[in-house]
Every structure is written in C-alpha cells, then in structure tokens.
Amino acid sequence: MADSYYDPKDLRKFGKISEWSEELGTKFFDYYGAVFKEGALSAREKSLIALAVSHVVKCPYCIDAYTKDGLQKGITKEEMMEAVHAGAAIESGATLVHGVQMMNKYDKLSM
C-alpha cells in the first residue's frame, strides 16, 4: 500500500478501473472519449474547459493530464491561465453569491 493518497504514477493505471467492472468501465471510457472529440465545440476548446474544471474539482491527476493535453494541442500558457481564472471566478462567485442568502437571513432575523 502506498503511504500517501496521491501518486502521479497512479494516473497511468486509470484504465485499470475496467478490470473490476468491465461493463461500467468500458461505458465510461467510451463516453469520455466521445465527449472530447471535435464537435460543436473544438477539441481545443473542450481541453480548456476540462483544465478549468480540473482546478475547480481540485483533481491533481486531471490538472496534470489537461496541462499536458493543452501543450499537445498548442494551447499557450496565457490561454491556460485564463481558463483557470474562469474556473476560479465561478468558484469564488458561487461562494460569494451565497452572501445574498446570508443577507436575507440576517435581515429576516433582525428587527
């Protein structure tokens, strides 16, 4: 057993999740592959979305994977950082918008 929760080498083993449930694993990877193909959005645009979401869900594997994917697709570091900020802005906005709930509750409870 590893003595830490995250090991970069584990990303290489991602595909192995299918070994314990072939059916669901295959469904997942087929779906995943289809999502990131060129479509109404380009594969490049989707890669940037994935990078932003990786930061928001704070998945170190995804951050490694989509930084590399971005490099492969010729995405610049400026574009990558803007994507991360877009994710961060939504995340902080999502926190802050709850301030309205706090204000509502405050007002309701106060005379």
Binding site: A43, K68, Q72, K73, G74
Partner: protein, 351 residues
C-alpha cells in the same frame, strides 16, 4: 537553449551505445513496459521489413547554425562532420539510378556545407520527382551569403520543408534560441515573396512542428489549421502543409528527458499511444538514410544511434538497391516515437 553539442561538452550521451543502453534497459528491461520488438511481433511485423524504396534521405553534415535543445542529431556550429564533394558525387550516381521518387536533403543545416549548392545543382539534373531541402529558416537570415537562398531554391524547383515550433515568439525562442522566431518569420515572408507556399503554387513550402517539451504532438490537422490562421492573421504568411513530428528519445532530446526527470513518463506516453496501424508505414519502410560519410542507415534516427543497416551493402560505395531492400530493419525502443498516435515520420503522420 543549449550553446554546445553534447559531443563538444563531452556528455556521455554523445556516445550512441550509452543511448542504446538506456533505451534497452530500465523500465523495459525490468518488464514494466514491453519491448518494441514484442509489440510489433504481436501483429506479425517482426522482423520489420522495407517495402518499395521511395525516399532517399541524405544527411550532408551535422554542422548547424542553431543548437536546438530537442535536436536528435546533436547538431551545432561545433560539429565538423560534413559531406565531401567526393561523397556527394557518389550520391549523385545513386540518385541518377534509384527507383526512389524523392530526394530529401537534411543536416544539420545542409546549406552550411560549402558544396551544398554544387550538390543541389547536380542533383536537380539527376531527374528526381520531388527534391526536398530541410531548411531551418534562420539560416536564410544568418549571414548575407545566404540571403539569396530563396532564389536559389526557386531556380532549382526545390521543395522547402522548414521547422517552426510554434506560431508565437515565446515558445519558438525557448526551444530554438532568442531571435529565432523573428528570423524565421522574415525568412518565411521572403519565401512567400518568391511564390513559395502560396495557394496553388508549385513551389512547395511545408512546415514541421515538433513539441517543445516532454509531450506528444496533437492532431496534425488541428495544428495545421491553428498555424495557418495565426501566421496569416499576424504576419500574412502562407504555407502548404504542416507535419507534426514526435520527438524521439535520442541525443539531446534524450538528455533533456533524463535531466528534467521526464524520461519514464515520456516512454509511458509513447507506449500508451502505440498505434499498430502506424507500424506498416513507418518511415524506414520506404526510406533509406545516408550519412555525411556515406554509410547507410534505416533512418536518420538509426544514423544517430550508429546502427548501420543489417545488409551486405552498408556503404554507398557498394550501393545496390535490390540487395539493400532485402533486409531486416534494426529497431529499438526509440521506434515507439514513430508509432505513437497517428504515427510520425519526416513527412508527418503515417496512419
């Protein structure tokens, strides 16, 4: 960017057998990753055999005006190995009689060979269909004596293939050195002005893209579209095709992978991206590579690893195309670079 070749620095990776030790040892010898031989055996392609010879690739020397960090040739201004006129004359004989339709001159910077122009003039007369010179672009702006190269290329109807790491200055200069981007842009504009790379022009200008780091190239068509759009919008530059080429773990790129602790991950990426469909058309199946001193190799990569062809014909002085084509190709783990994703060759993807 590097300033000296590994050879000039006395780096042990300048030795081809040190490189082969690494490629055959470590994660492969320990069984973590499969040997290339076993992978292609699974699909009945071992031993790997040539098909019809289509391309003669001649390396006229390792001297270069640049010292790019990823260079698999370990080229640079300090490399003195260049082809003599005598060897060139032997090559011309071969070009006259070959069944190949394409001649591909590479280096180093081939233009730095003092007999380069003589060779091009003679080779252009030898009746080959497609005559390629791999030009790094900056050479055209490196010194006054090279300023007329675009005219010279045009005069001999040479097909120019040039390397361009990215359409932004930052990424280009990081891989190839300060000022490389601006010089390359200027050189491309000069070529465009002669008609090179223009839509419908018969003067072919293609670009080569290879990643500036430990990752594989993305989709060639998508990259080509991005390059075309950016170069046209920003600099009014046009070109025909973009070839996305994978960096093979050889020479300076291998040194970089090891020094940056990316070697294992990179080899995993290559093996993971292994595409059996690419095996059939790897470059060595239709190309041979000739070195500055006339030795014959399965490809430019094997040349740098000093793996001469497994044939009775090892040198151009004994050249015999039929005999040469009846051989087994020498492979090692660097070959995974040719079969990753859509595959990779000097002409771009193969699958």
């Amino acid at each position: 960017m590097a300033t000296k070749s590994l050879k000039a620095k006395g780096n042990e990776l300048a030795e081809s057998n040190k490189q082969l030790d690494i490629l055959n040892g470590g994660i492969f010898a320990e069984g973590e990753l499969p040997f290339f031989k076993d992978k292609i055996n699974e699909i009945g392609h071992f031993p790997l055999r040539p098909k019809k010879l289509e391309i003669l690739q001649i390396n006229v020397g390792y001297m270069c005006n640049q010292v790019c960090e990823h260079c698999h040739v370990d080229a640079g201004p300090d490399r003195k190995e260049i082809m003599t006129r005598e060897t060139m004359a032997q090559c011309i004989e071969i070009i006259r009689n070959t069944g190949a339709h394409t001649l591909d001159l590479t280096g180093g910077a081939p233009e730095m060979n003092p007999d380069f122009r003589w060779f091009v003039e003679e080779a252009a007369k030898a009746g080959i269909k497609d005559f390629i010179v791999r030009s790094n672009l900056t050479i055209i702006r490196a010194n006054k004596k090279y300023y007329d190269l675009p005219d010279f290329f045009k005069k001999h109807n040479v097909h120019v293939i040039s390397s361009m790491p990215h359409y932004t200055r930052g990424k280009t200069d990081k891989q190839r050195g300060d000022g490389v981007f601006d010089k390359s842009i200027k050189a491309l504009q000069e070529l465009n002005a002669r008609g090179y790379g223009m839509p419908d022009s018969s003067l072919r200008l293609d670009l080569v893209y290879n990643p500036s780091g430990a990752y594989l190239p993305g989709d060639q068509m998508a990259l080509e579209a991005d390059f075309k759009k950016a170069l046209k919008e920003d600099f009014d530059i046009q070109f025909h095709n973009l070839f996305a080429i994978t960096n093979l773990p050889i020479a300076r790129f291998l040194d970089y992978l090891i020094a940056s602790e990316n070697y294992e991950d990179y080899m995993y990426s290559l093996v993971e991206a292994y595409n059996p469909a690419a095996v059939e058309n790897v470059m060595c199946t239709n190309t041979i590579s000739i070195s500055w001193d006339g030795w014959i190799y399965d490809c430019d990569f094997n040349q740098m690893l000093d793996l001469k062809v497994a044939s009775k014909v090892k040198h151009i002085k004994d050249y015999n195309e039929d005999l040469l084509n009846d051989r087994n190709i020498i492979i090692s783990q660097h070959c995974y670079g040719c079969t990753a994703g859509a595959g990779s060759s000097c002409q771009g993807t193969v699958a």
